[in-house]
């Protein structure tokens, strides 16, 4: 597939997908929690836009419904819930900078290369015009995972988890033209329930160790060592 042969709207899809990937990097490095939640909301909105354009460009009309669902869930509802949680936990002024931001970004770039290499056989199949985006969505998934690994803050880890879900959704839309509606509704509901559970957990974690820095959990055994 050569870029010159695509209509303008499909070129726009590629551009938006590339921006989704860039937003993943921004999310990875964003030190302020409130700003990171906004960035996550933008990623959800971009994913929804990509889905809507794919729907407009193919005969997969049910994708419009998925796009609307994504927009409501990922760009509005979940960021709003996280926002409220962060303010209630009084973390809105919290800053958490990575210890080696440049190294973290370089590792994430390596993940992009890896995902390109991993999906190369898939791209050789004749698929929709979106098949090149599959590598991008796998990279978004891996960067979300990487974010959960390197961030110590529980809210930031949840953001990583949610952005992984964004990547999975993008992969489903671009590789196979979206999941069946039942599965999609189920996943959306699962994510919502997960979000509510995370909220409960945040309060539990903070009550027991007085912080949301999950690295501190290692210290729970200290007293046992001393005795």
């Amino acid at each position: 597939m050569i870029l010159e042969q695509l209509p303008l709207l499909q070129q726009l899809t590629l551009v938006l997908a590339a921006i989704v990937l860039f937003v993943s990097f921004v999310l990875l490095e964003q030190a302020r929690l409130v700003a990171a939640i906004h960035v996550f909301a933008w990623q959800g909105a971009l994913t929804a836009t990509v889905t809507a354009i794919v729907a407009a460009n193919s005969d997969l009309k049910h994708l419009f419904f998925s796009a609307a669902l994504t927009l409501i869930m990922k760009a509005l509802l979940i960021p709003w819930m996280l926002h409220r949680l962060v303010y209630r936990l009084e973390l809105d002024r919290h800053r958490e900078s990575l210890r080696h931001p440049a190294l973290a970004v370089m590792a994430a770039l390596a993940l992009v290369i890896f995902s390109y290499w991993a999906v190369a056989p898939l791209v050789k199949q004749e698929l929709l015009f979106t098949r090149n985006i599959v590598a991008v969505s796998l990279a978004v998934v891996l960067i979300g995972l990487w974010m959960m690994v390197i961030r110590a803050q529980a809210v930031a880890q949840v953001l990583g988890f949610m952005s992984m879900e964004n990547g999975l959704f993008l992969a489903a839309v671009t590789a196979t033209g979206g999941m069946p509606l039942v599965v999609e509704l189920g996943v959306a509901f699962d994510v919502l329930v997960a979000m509510i559970l995370f909220g409960v957990f945040f309060f539990q974690i903070r009550e027991s160790i007085d912080t949301l820095d999950v690295d501190r959990m290692n210290r729970l055994t200290e007293k046992a060592d001393e005795s």
Binding site: M1, I2, L3, E4, L8, Q11, L12, L14, V15, A17, A18, I19, L21, F22, F25, P101, A102, V105, L109, V112, I113, Y116, A120, V123, K124, R131, N132, I133, A135, V136
Partner: protein, 317 residues
């Protein structure tokens, strides 16, 4: 015909020389208006250069011959690098040396001598400025090269004239890689030309300055040449950005009509870029020096993403 082309190339090089102070004056004027000042007139940089050329050049006692030679080398290298970049037409004999690696090399040569001259007199300010300049450029150079490689991979040539020609010949496409390369190159240009938020061009005696610290010991015609070289460098990055990413209107031959149209469009594009730079300089504050790596890492990240999105999204299998 051959002679004509060379004359045109010479004219283009002189045009760069003549317009560079005007661009600096325009940015200064826009910035002043945004800050509710009337500001110096547009031709103030010319007056400054004229004044400096007429003044006596004083040298420090500790300065060596290198200190005397550095302004000429810096000015010549910067001018040579600038002259190759197509300003009006891609069909000029100088297009052959518009290779991006040559240009990066010439700029590195100019920077090397600038830093040496800064250290030559042995003052604390000069040494500090030189070390900061090398610190920033070591981070900016890879980002610049990777950003430009994104362009050259699309056009299959490292020659800027060939890249511009390729874009003028092909239909307009939305390329994700160009979006990122443009972002990366913008950040690099801000860092390399010493603008806010990396360096403050309007400061003259401040602990945080970079470029001014290196040329603090210069006076007279030497200072004029250094200032002119800095303005040329701003012009170089401006033309690189507008002519490579937005090449519309650029002439592909040497007809009078096409050339005048090219001059008008390039002037309009540079005026817009200058105004945008003034806005950026007004809304942002200067960063601490040790925040500069984060700024330039973002530039490198954008450039690398440009490269990857070219490979992943545009070439495909």
């Amino acid at each position: 015909m051959k002679m004509d082309a060379w004359l045109l190339a010479l004219l283009q090089a002189l045009l760069y020389l003549a317009l560079a102070p005007l661009l600096a004056g325009w940015v200064g004027k826009c910035k002043a208006r945004l800050q509710n000042r009337r500001g110096a007139p547009l031709w103030q940089p010319y007056r400054d250069l004229y004044k400096l050329f007429a003044k006596e050049a004083r040298m420090a006692h500790t300065a060596s011959q290198l200190f005397r030679a550095a302004p000429y080398i810096v000015f010549a290298a910067t001018w040579l690098a600038t002259a190759g970049i197509p300003l009006l037409s891609t069909d000029l004999p100088t297009a052959a040396m518009a290779d991006i690696i040559v240009i990066a090399g010439l700029l590195a040569l100019a920077r090397f001598f600038l830093a040496l001259a800064g250290m030559d007199t042995g003052t604390a300010f000069g040494g500090m400025g030189a070390s900061r300049e090398m610190f920033v450029s070591a981070l900016a150079e890879p980002a610049m090269l990777v950003a430009v490689f994104t362009l050259t991979m699309t056009a299959h040539s490292t020659n800027l004239a060939a890249v511009v020609d390729f874009h003028l010949a092909s239909t307009n496409l939305l390329r994700p890689s160009y979006l990122f390369a443009l972002g990366g190159l913008l950040l690099v240009a801000i860092a390399e030309t010493g603008r806010i938020p990396v360096d403050n061009p309007s400061t003259h005696l401040e602990l945080t300055m970079i470029h001014e610290a290196m040329i603090l010991e210069y006076s007279g015609r030497h200072l004029a040449l250094m200032e002119w070289a800095a303005q040329l460098k701003l012009m170089l990055y401006g033309v690189l950005l507008v002519n490579v990413f937005f090449p519309w209107g650029l002439a592909r031959d040497t007809g009078i009509g096409a050339l005048s149209l090219a001059l008008a469009t390039v002037a309009a594009k540079l005026l817009m870029l200058g105004a945008a730079l003034a806005v950026v300089e007004t809304v942002l504050a200067k960063m601490r020096l040790f925040r500069a790596p984060a700024f330039l890492n973002l530039g490198l990240l954008l450039a690398l993403l440009g490269l990857f999105s070219h490979v992943i999204l545009e070439v495909g299998a």
